[in-house]
Symmetry: C2
Subunit: 581 residues, 2 copies
C-alpha cells in the first residue's frame, strides 16, 4: 500500500503518529516560509503543512513545485491544527510533512476540480475522468452504488433471486428500435440487445423461479429526448402466484425502505389513483403531488354564460395558484405568453384574482360578475389571495397544456422541493392506445399485459375500453416504475398479438417460444421494472440522470470521451458479412 491511512481518516486521536498518505494535490498555498497542500482522495481532504523551521529547504522546494492535481505520497507526523476547521472531518489536525514523493505529474486540468467548476457540459464529458474527481459527481456515484446494494439486499430478504438474463437476444420490431449485433459465426444473422428482459423473466416464471429480480442494463435505439440514454439500467422483477396488489405492496415496501434508509423518511401508504382520475386531476399520468393546484372543471360554472370562447369548448378547466392574486399584469402576461408558445400550444389563459379582501378581478369581468366568479373559486377551493387560471379547449389537449403550466408554475414557485418525496401508484391504464392517424391499436404498456378479468370478454368487441392490470409507480412527477399482471395463457396472448396487428406467422416467429411455454404450465405472474437511473437521481434530489451515470452518452448517443461510435475497418466489416450501404 502506498498509504497507511486515507485522506479522510485522521482525527485528534492520531496526533503524534507518523502516517503516510497518498492523493491529489487539490490546492497549494504558498506563504514563502510556510506552505500548505490540501491532499484529496475519495474519502476526504487532509491538510499538509511544511515550513522553513521544521522542513528541509529541499523538501519545501519540492512541495512548492507540486502542481495542482499531481499525485503525491507524503509521510509525516499528525499535529494539532492551530486554526481548526469545523467544516472538515479532518479539520482538527494537519500533517507535518517529512517526506514527499510525486507519484505522477499532472497537466493543468481543462477545468477546475471543485464542487462548482468552470467547465461546461461538453468539456466535462470529454474529460469525464476529471469530472468524476469532483465531489458532486463522485458522491453521486457513491450514492448510486449504495442504493444498488440496498435494493439487492432488500429484495434478497424477500426471497427474490437475482438471475442474469442474456444480452444477445432476438430483435422484435414491436416497441422501440433495437440495437442489433451482427453474428460472425452465423453470417447474415443478428442478435439484438434487450430493451428489457421481459420475455426471459416471464420464462423464468414458467420455470418456477417464483420471485426474480435483476439490476440490468437495457438498450433502446431511440432518438434521444432530453435526459434519455441509449443504454439505461432497470430494477427488473417478476413474481408468480400474485395479484396486482401483491406486487404493488412489495415494491411500495422497497421504495419505503430506500426512503427510510437514505432520508430517514417513513412514507405513509402510497396513494393509489386511477389513470382516468390522474388525467382529470393533474392532466398527467405521472402527477407530482408534492403540491396542490389540482384541476377543477368549470364547465357547469363557466359555460353558457355568454362567454362564447368557453361555450364551444369540450372542457373548461382551472387551477388555483396559491398566493398569486398579488401578481402584476405583467407577471400574468408572462405566463400567458408561456402557454402560447408552440411547445405548449394553448390559446391563452383566463385569469381570476381572488383578492385578499374577497373581491374578484378577472380578464373576463365583462362576462362574469363577482358572484359568478365566486362560484368558480368555490369549485376550485381557492382561498382569498389565490389566482385562478382557466383554460378551455379539447379535453385531452387542454389537460396536457394545463399540466405543463401547473408544473412550470410549481417549479417557479419552488413547490417542487427536492428533499420532499411523494410517491403514488397510478392504476387502471387502458390496455390499448389508438394511433391518431392510422387508428391502429398499440399496447399502452406492452403486448404481454393482461386485461382486467372482467374486461377479457370485450377484448375484441370493444378493445378501447378494456382496462389493463397495469400500474405505474410515480415519484415527484416522474414515472419511476411500471408493471403489469401478464397474460399467461396461449389463447389470450394470441388474441392480443392479433389485435396489435401481428399476423399469425409474425406472432409465431417472434413470440412462438413464449406462447409455447404457456402451454407447459405457466403460473399466473406479473412484475414491475423501475428505472434505476431516474430513481437514484430523484432520491438524490435531482432529476438529471446523467449526473448519476459514470460515463453517459450525449444527445447524439456519442461517448465523446472515447469517441464512440466509430467507423470499422473493411476487414472487420467483411468478416461480419456486411458492407456499408
Amino acid at each position: 500500500m502506498y498509504r497507511s491511512h486515507h485522506c479522510g481518516a485522521l482525527r485528534e486521536k492520531h496526533i503524534g503518529s507518523e502516517v503516510t498518505l497518498a492523493g491529489w494535490a487539490a490546492k497549494v498555498r504558498d506563504k514563502g516560509f510556510m506552505l500548505w497542500i490540501d491532499l484529496r482522495d475519495r474519502y476526504g481532504i487532509t491538510q499538509l503543512v511544511l515550513d522553513e523551521e521544521r522542513c528541509s529547504a529541499a523538501l519545501l522546494e519540492k512541495a512548492r513545485k507540486t502542481r495542482r492535481e499531481a499525485v503525491v505520497q507524503v509521510t509525516g507526523v499528525v499535529i494539532e491544527r492551530v486554526a481548526k476547521n469545523p467544516n472538515m472531518d479532518t479539520g482538527n489536525i494537519e500533517l507535518l510533512v517529512s517526506e514527499l514523493t510525486v507519484l505522477n505529474e499532472a497537466q493543468t486540468p481543462p477545468f477546475t476540480i471543485e464542487d462548482k467548476t468552470d467547465g461546461g457540459e461538453d468539456l466535462r464529458m470529454k474529460y469525464r475522468y476529471l469530472d468524476i474527481r469532483r465531489a458532486p459527481v463522485q458522491n453521486s456515484l457513491l450514492f448510486r452504488s449504495k442504493i444498488g446494494l440496498l435494493v439487492r439486499n432488500y429484495l434478497a430478504e424477500q426471497a427474490f433471486i437475482e438471475v442474469e438474463t442474456p444480452y444477445l437476444i432476438k430483435s422484435t420490431p414491436e416497441g422501440a428500435r433495437d440495437f442489433v449485433v451482427p453474428s460472425r459465426m452465423n453470417e447474415g444473422q443478428f442478435y439484438a440487445l434487450p430493451q428489457s428482459p421481459q420475455t426471459f423473466k416471464q420464462l423464468l416464471m414458467v420455470g418456477g423461479m417464483d420471485k426474480y429480480f435483476q439490476i440490468v442494463k437495457c438498450f433502446r435505439d431511440e432518438d434521444l429526448r432530453a435526459d434519455r440514454q441509449p443504454e439505461f439500467t432497470q430494477i427488473d422483477s417478476e413474481l408468480s402466484f400474485v395479484h396486482q396488489q401483491d406486487i404493488m405492496a412489495c415494491f411500495e415496501g422497497l421504495l419505503s425502505h430506500l426512503l427510510e434508509e437514505i432520508h430517514g423518511i417513513s412514507p405513509a401508504p402510497f396513494p393509489v389513483i386511477s389513470y382516468e382520475d390522474a388525467m382529470k386531476t393533474y392532466g398527467n399520468d405521472k402527477p407530482d403531488i408534492r403540491f396542490g393546484m389540482t384541476f377543477t372543471e368549470l364547465n357547469a360554472q363557466a359555460q353558457n354564460k355568454g362567454f362564447t370562447v368557453f361555450d364551444a369548448q369540450e372542457l373548461v378547466v382551472s387551477i388555483a395558484v396559491p398566493g398569486a392574486a398579488s401578481w402584476s399584469r405583467k407577471q400574468i402576461d408572462t405566463w400567458i405568453d408561456w402557454v402560447k408558445r408552440p411547445q405548449i400550444g394553448a390559446n391563452g389563459l383566463v385569469w381570476v384574482k381572488f383578492n385578499k379582501d374577497g373581491t374578484f378581478k378577472s380578464s373576463v369581468d365583462k362576462f362574469f360578475d363577482n358572484d359568478a366568479l365566486a362560484t368558480w373559486a368555490t369549485a376550485c377551493e381557492a382561498k382569498a389571495g389565490d389566482l385562478i387560471l382557466v383554460m378551455a379547449g379539447e379535453a385531452i389537449k387542454t389537460r396536457t397544456q394545463l399540466s405543463a403550466l401547473r408544473m412550470a408554475l410549481a417549479e417557479s414557485l419552488e413547490l417542487r422541493k427536492p428533499n420532499e418525496f411523494a410517491p403514488l401508484w397510478v392504476v387502471d391504464f387502458p390496455l390499448f392506445e389508438e394511433d391518431e392517424d392510422s387508428g391502429a391499436l398499440h399496447a399502452m404498456h406492452h403486448p404481454f399485459t393482461a386485461p382486467k378479468p372482467a374486461h377479457l370478454s370485450q377484448l375484441e368487441s370493444n378493445p378501447k375500453d378494456v382496462v389493463a392490470q397495469a400500474y405505474d409507480l410515480v415519484l415527484n412527477g416522474n414515472e419511476i416504475g411500471g408493471g403489469s399482471i401478464r397474460i399467461h395463457d396461449r389463447g389470450t396472448q394470441e388474441k392480443m398479438l392479433s389485435l396489435l396487428g401481428f399476423s399469425d406467422k409474425e406472432a409465431k416467429a417472434q413470440f412462438g417460444f413464449l406462447m409455447d411455454a404457456f402451454t407447459y404450465g405457466a403460473p399466473p405472474h406479473g412484475g414491475i421494472a423501475l428505472g434505476f437511473d431516474r430513481l437514484v437521481a430523484i432520491l438524490g434530489g435531482k432529476e438529471t440522470i446523467r449526473d448519476y451515470i459514470a460515463f453517459p452518452k450525449n444527445n447524439s448517443g456519442r461517448d465523446v470521451m472515447i469517441d464512440a461510435p466509430a467507423r470499422l475497418d473493411d476487414d472487420q466489416l467483411n468478416e461480419l458479412g456486411l458492407k456499408n450501404n
Copy 2:
C-alpha cells in the same frame, strides 16, 4: 396472493390450519379410492391427499384429471401424515384438499421434470424454461444469486464502490474479436460491446474512485471452445495506491470469505507460485494442487545412460502415479495410447513400476538396472507401489503433454474431489509472449499491464525476459481470475503499444483517451477480474459453467430456445445503413 404458504413451508405446527397452496403437479398417484398429488414450487414439495371418504366425488374426479406439470391451486387442512417421510422438509404433514383449481393446464413435457431427467442437452436447451423447473438447475441459479450477493456485500464492506461502465463502447482490434453494434444515429459507425471494462475502470482510478468493482457482462466473439460463452460475467475490480500483494490479499480475502460462507472452509493462506515454477512443476499455469503427481525432471538421472531416445531430448520429465504399480500392462498401454492421440501428440511413455517389495520393473529394463531406476524413484519421491511415468522431448511441449496426462489420471483416479478447494496464486508471468510464426510480441495479459519496476529498463532491449506485475488466481485447476498492476504513465504506455506493433496513429486512435488521462494525475493502480460463471460452477462442485447460466448459448453461439441470432428484415438493415455482403 394465490397462496397462504409456499410448498416448502408447512410443518407439524400447522396441523389443523386451513391453508392455500399453489404450484405444479409434480406427480399424481391414483389408488382409486385415494389419490395423492405432489405439489411443487421453488421452495419445496407438499403432498396433497384426497379420498372418497373425506372428499366429494366431483373434487376427486377433478384431482384425478390433473395432469403432470399443470398449475394448481388448492385449499385444505394440514393433517399429520401416517407414513412420514424424513427425507422431505414437509414429510411429517400432508394437505387434505377441500378445493382444487387448475390455474393453467400443461401439455406433457418433452422430458421428465426430475433431478435425473431423460432429456438430452439439446432438448433441455430448447425448453430451458422446463429445464429450470428441475431442482438441480433451479438450485444452481439460487446458488449463483447467493454468491453474487455475498461478493457484493463483502466488497462493499471493504469500501469498494460498484460503478456501472458502459456497454456501448468502441472497438479495439487488439485481443479477441469484438461484437459490434451499428449506430443508426451515426450512420456507418459502430459501437462495440466490451470484452471487459478495462479502460473504463482505469479511468475511474484516474477519476479518484479508489476502489471499484462491478459484476458485469462481457462479450467476446470467439469461436467457442468447449464451455465458453459469447457473453460471460465477470467480477471486475480496480484499486488505487496499491501494490500487487495488496490486491492479492484483498481477493484472497474474498475467496476465503466465500469458501467460509458456502462450505464452512477456512482455507490456509493461498500458496504463491511463479509462472516458471508452475510450468516446471505442473506443466501448466493453472495447476490443480488438490493432488500430487508433480513433475520431476530426470535429465541428470536418465540421460547419457545409453538410452538414445532420452539422450537427444531437451527434457526428460516424470510423475509418480500413487499406487499404480499394480496396473496391468493393458492398463498402462491404454494410457500410452491416450498420450499418443493427436489431441495430446506425445511419442509415448516410459513406465517404471516401483513394486511393493522394493524391486523395479520398467519398459526400459534393457537400459536401466534396478539401481538406476532407484535413483529415478528417489528423485520423484515415489513410494513403493507407485508407477513412474516418464516423457521426453522439447521442454514446453512435453510439459504440456505430461500436464494433460496428469489431469486425466487424476480425473480417472478420482483425485479431483469436487468438495475440496485448493486455491493458489500464480505470479511473475512474462509480460510478452512471442508469436511462433511471425515472432511478433503479444501482451500475455493485456497491453496495460506494468512490467516489474526492475525490468522497466529492459522493455525495449530484452522484452522477452521482462516479467509482468501480473497474477492469476487459480482454483482446482481452473484460472478463476487474473489481474495486474497497470501502467499509469503515458511514456511507458506508448512504449508498450509500440512494442506490440501499434503505430503512433493507431495507438492514439484507440487508446488516446487513456494516455491523455495519464497526463492529468493518474494514481498507481491495478486490479483483477474473476470469471463469475466459472467461480460459481467450481464453488458448486462442477466445472461446466452452462449449468449455472439461466439461458446459455450453444457452441455455435445460438440461443436455441428463442432461435437467435436471426435474419433482420431489409427495412431494419436499411435504417442502419447496412446491407448483407
